[in-house]
């Protein structure tokens, strides 16, 4: 009852502040609010929301091509509920006022919508390409329904400006800055991404990240596959946090079809989700050790990570790509023998954790390299709308499991780990302690798992409607927005992975740091670029890029 009150309170407050501009509002599920406003009123609605709930952060912006119009959805998490502010634009002249002046964290999302749907955000400070290559033709917007790959044709990599390494630019203030390019291929980056650092000696003055090198067109492809096929597609958004993606997508589809899954399945999803978190966090902490040149730490952490991978394999059948969640439940059951083994093995990891904690707290070289480096203040973290361990390292409460519980988290006993300092060290410590909390959750879930079926059969066809699902992926809040049109195919799938929310804060952190700090600070963000880049299928060979449609791809598959 209390939750209903919150949603009604939000709708009431906003309707009171906006009056005539509100075209409609609804709250189909607990903690989900949709408010439809008139085209030019979105900014007023967002400022009203910010005024009423000061800790509001933007989750993402979804653009949907409705045929005649383009619908823009601004998703916000206001601390108590996910508020979607919706407005429609005409497709012939899609133009809308930017909100980056009131919500700086929206910058990348606006660029994404601009890139893929051709919506022009007026007065945006830097409305350039985010995901697509610079040589992508104008007026070709892949997420529009009438887009045809043939219309875009073959793309030659020519217009993209080639930057020379070590190029020196004299700035207007008289000082000279050196441009250093890190990436797309660099030993500190485990995935292709390019950063252009502007250096003054060894000190970083500014950085421009360029995303999109691992862009695969998953959102577009999802529209051409049925819901149950999409589960396997979104699993491949990211190799590390794959469980988070499937769980999130299945939850969204289940909410869309109003399917209630068995509670045993919810507990099993929780267990695998937490395995996934332990494995991801240990991986990242090992990488952190590698980036600051502490190879022994890296080797030790990755060895302990093996235990979790083995347990994941025993439960799901796969070491990394779990393929576990499915619409209507999970694919395999947990036996009591395996439950005992899980508890026993996790106890060992718990013992090792206290050792790692001691290392991180007392080792002088780790302290020199991470304490006070790459600071993101709480105020900035809120402003830039960062999520996950990055936000919690700056003292912002952002754990979706706690504030917007899903699966079995409502009853699970665990603490939200918060550190105040906002430096790299805090972000690493948050992750280290979260591993301990994950072990608590798994042990609790194994002990308290209800009996019953673990999967129910669901229809392939889903009703018309929309749903938004949030989970706490290892890297932070993950959002899947699914819109159904009454068939077995989704109308639109929108994925906002946590790295896209966090990458914007890198610029804030790295300013004033030394070159040698770049890898360590970047690692403390735990960036995952293949999560961040999705959508259009671009293959890169011999410096040329071309695009295949789904049919081309199918033809190729048949040929080979």
């Amino acid at each position: 009852m209390k939750e209903i009150a919150i949603e009604e309170e939000i709708i009431g407050t906003l309707e009171g502040m906006l009056g005539e501009s509100v075209l409609g509002s609804k709250s189909p599920r607990p903690r989900r609010v949709y408010i439809h406003v008139k085209p030019a009123a979105h900014k007023r609605a967002i400022s009203a929301l910010l005024q009423a709930f000061p800790s509001t952060i933007i989750s993402t912006i979804t653009g949907i091509d409705l045929g005649e119009t383009i619908e823009i959805n601004y998703h916000f998490w206001c601390g108590k509920a996910e508020v979607t502010i919706r407005t429609n634009l005409s497709k012939s002249k899609p133009e809308i006022e930017t909100i980056t002046d009131i919500v700086p964290g929206a910058s990348l999302y606006e660029r994404e919508v601009h890139d893929l749907l051709g919506v022009k955000f007026a007065n945006h400070p830097n409305l350039t390409r985010l995901l697509l290559p610079e040589s992508w033709p104008e007026n070709s917007y892949p997420l529009r329904k009438d887009w045809n790959p043939k219309q875009t044709g073959e793309i030659h990599d020519s217009s993209e400006k080639t930057l020379t390494i070590g190029e020196t630019r004299t700035e207007s203030n008289g000082g000279s800055l050196v441009n250093v390019i890190v990436g797309p291929q660099h030993p500190a980056l485990h995935e292709p991404e390019r950063f252009l650092f502007k250096l003054d000696g060894e000190v970083v003055v500014d950085v421009e990240p360029r995303l999109g090198y691992a862009h695969r067109g998953i959102e577009k492809a999802a529209e051409h596959l049925m819901f149950f096929q999409d589960v396997h597609l979104v699993e491949r958004v990211c190799g590390i946090c794959n469980v988070a993606h499937t769980t999130c997508f299945c939850q969204a589809v289940e909410a869309l079809g109003e399917i209630e899954i068995p509670s045993r399945a919810k507990y099993l999803r929780t267990i695998v989700h937490e395995f996934n978190r332990i494995h991801s966090h240990l991986l990242l902490l090992g990488i952190a050790g590698l980036e600051i040149g502490f190879e022994s730490l890296f080797q030790y952490l990755w060895r302990d990570r093996e235990t979790v991978l083995d347990l994941t394999e025993k439960l799901t059948g796969n070491r990394v790509m779990a393929e576990y969640s499915t619409i209507g439940g999970v694919r395999r059951d947990l036996t009591p023998i395996l439950g005992d083994e899980i508890k026993k093995k996790l106890q060992k990891i718990r013992d090792r954790l206290s050792f790692y904690k001691e290392v991180f707290q007392s080792d002088p070289t780790i302290e020199l390299r991470t304490k006070g480096i790459g600071v993101l203040s709480e105020e900035k973290a809120l402003k830039l709308c960062v999520v996950g361990p990055v936000a919690r390292g700056s003292g912002v409460k952002s754990d979706v499991r706690k504030h917007d519980p899903y699966a079995a988290y409502e009853d699970a006993p665990f603490k939200e780990i918060l550190y105040k300092d906002g430096d790299s060290w805090s972000r690493f410590m948050v992750r280290l302690e979260e591993v301990g909390e994950s072990i608590e959750i798994i042990t609790w879930a194994v002990d308290n798992i209800p009996s019953g079926p673990y999967r129910i059969r669901v229809p392939r066809r889903m009703p018309r409607g929309e749903s938004l699902s949030r989970v706490e992926a290892p890297r932070g809040e993950l959002i899947h927005y699914v819109k159904g049109n009454g068939t077995a195919y989704p109308e639109r799938v929108k994925i906002r992975s946590p790295t896209l929310a966090n990458i914007i804060s890198f610029r804030e952190m790295i300013r004033g740091c030394y070159v040698a700090d770049i890898p360590a600070v970047l690692a403390s963000l735990d960036p995952c670029f293949s999560c961040t880049d999705r959508m259009v299928f671009v293959d890169e060979k011999n410096g040329r890029r071309w695009i295949w449609s789904m049919n081309d791809l199918k033809a190729r598959r048949r040929d080979s």
Partner: protein, 331 residues
């Protein structure tokens, strides 16, 4: 001229012996590092993987050798060989099996000669990075200069301690004076020397010049094939050189109690064991440290290591009469 000298230079204790020792130390280093990091280490090539370093070098020698278009061709080709040769030549000056490779006891002042040679060798490592015209190599090369110019000073100052106690600048004399190793008599100098040596050998926490995650392979980024083999060999020789220097100055070099067999056999055994002991020490420090930043390294040197080295020399001089009582040497 002694016909024996060719055998000494080419086979024992010269090139062949040292080459085998260098390969063995490389294997030893990798193996104990792996065991400390909970790994297997080399284990397939030969018994316990002992032939792995040799296999690596043979493989590198057969690989394509690329010279970047922009590189200074002459310097780029020359520097790997020169830096390797200089390190090798410096090891030749040490008493290896009781006397040095040129079958004598060296000359008064060969300690200074060796230290000077090493500074030269570092300069050639710098040149090798500088000549490859790659930004990563360039940064790595500049970092070598910053680090080595700084750390040569405390290294040389700490090397004065044993020389002062032995009353000589001759390596053979310093080694033979140590009935009790100087490492036990003046532990403060020994520890400082090890820290400075760690920086000279670019081992963690001082491996800034080739920090993989920042600047790829530092000065060695552009090298491939035979040149890379020589750069690697130079690095391995450098580590053995560091261990030999430490063993000679602080652990009594090859000298020790001699039993029935010829003394040179015993001396060789002692020498190898002491070298391995020093390498194990260095690797242990490497295993428990993260990499520092270049500004930490430089600041740490001028603020802490160099003043401490000066203090340690003063302490050694003040306590010399008492130490000499222990040594049983004439004052």
């Amino acid at each position: 001229m002694n016909p024996n000298i060719f055998f000494r230079i080419l086979v024992f204790p010269g090139f062949l012996f040292l080459f085998v020792l260098i390969l063995f130390c490389d294997w030893f280093e990798r193996k104990i590092m792996a065991r400390m990091q909970n790994r297997m280490g080399p284990s397939y090539t030969g018994p316990f993987g002992i032939l792995q370093p040799l296999a690596d070098y043979i493989k590198l020698l057969t690989k394509e050798d690329i010279i970047p278009h922009h590189a200074r061709q002459f310097l780029f080709s020359l520097t790997p060989i020169i830096s390797f040769s200089i390190f090798m030549l410096s090891i030749f000056c040490f008493p290896l099996d009781g006397i040095n490779v040129f079958s004598n006891y060296g000359f008064e002042g060969d300690l200074l000669f060796v230290l000077a040679l090493v500074t030269f060798a570092h300069f050639f490592l710098f040149l090798s990075g500088w000549s490859s015209s790659n930004p990563y190599s360039g940064i790595g090369a500049v970092r070598i200069l910053m680090q080595f110019i700084g750390y040569d000073i405390p290294l040389i100052i700490s090397a004065i301690g044993p020389a002062f106690l032995a009353g000589s600048l001759s390596l053979a004399k310093i080694a033979s004076m140590q009935t009790i190793p100087f490492a036990l008599l003046t532990p403060w100098t020994f520890i400082l020397f090890l820290v400075a040596l760690q920086a000279e050998l670019e081992e963690d926490p001082f491996d800034v010049p080739h920090a993989e995650t920042e600047i790829v392979a530092g000065y060695g980024t552009e090298f491939s094939g035979r040149k890379l083999a020589f750069i690697r060999l130079a690095k391995d020789t450098q580590i053995v050189f560091g261990a030999v220097l430490t063993a000679t100055l602080f652990l009594g070099g090859p000298y020790g109690p001699v039993f029935s067999a010829p003394p040179s056999l015993w001396f060789t055994i002692y020498f190898v064991l002491k070298v391995l002991f020093v390498i194990a020490l260095l690797e242990f420090v490497e295993a428990i440290c993260a990499r520092l930043r270049i500004d930490h390294v430089v600041r740490g040197n001028w603020r802490m290591i160099t003043p401490a080295a000066l203090l340690s020399v003063i302490l050694t001089v003040l306590s010399a009469p008492y130490i000499r009582l222990f040594m049983g040497a004439p004052i």
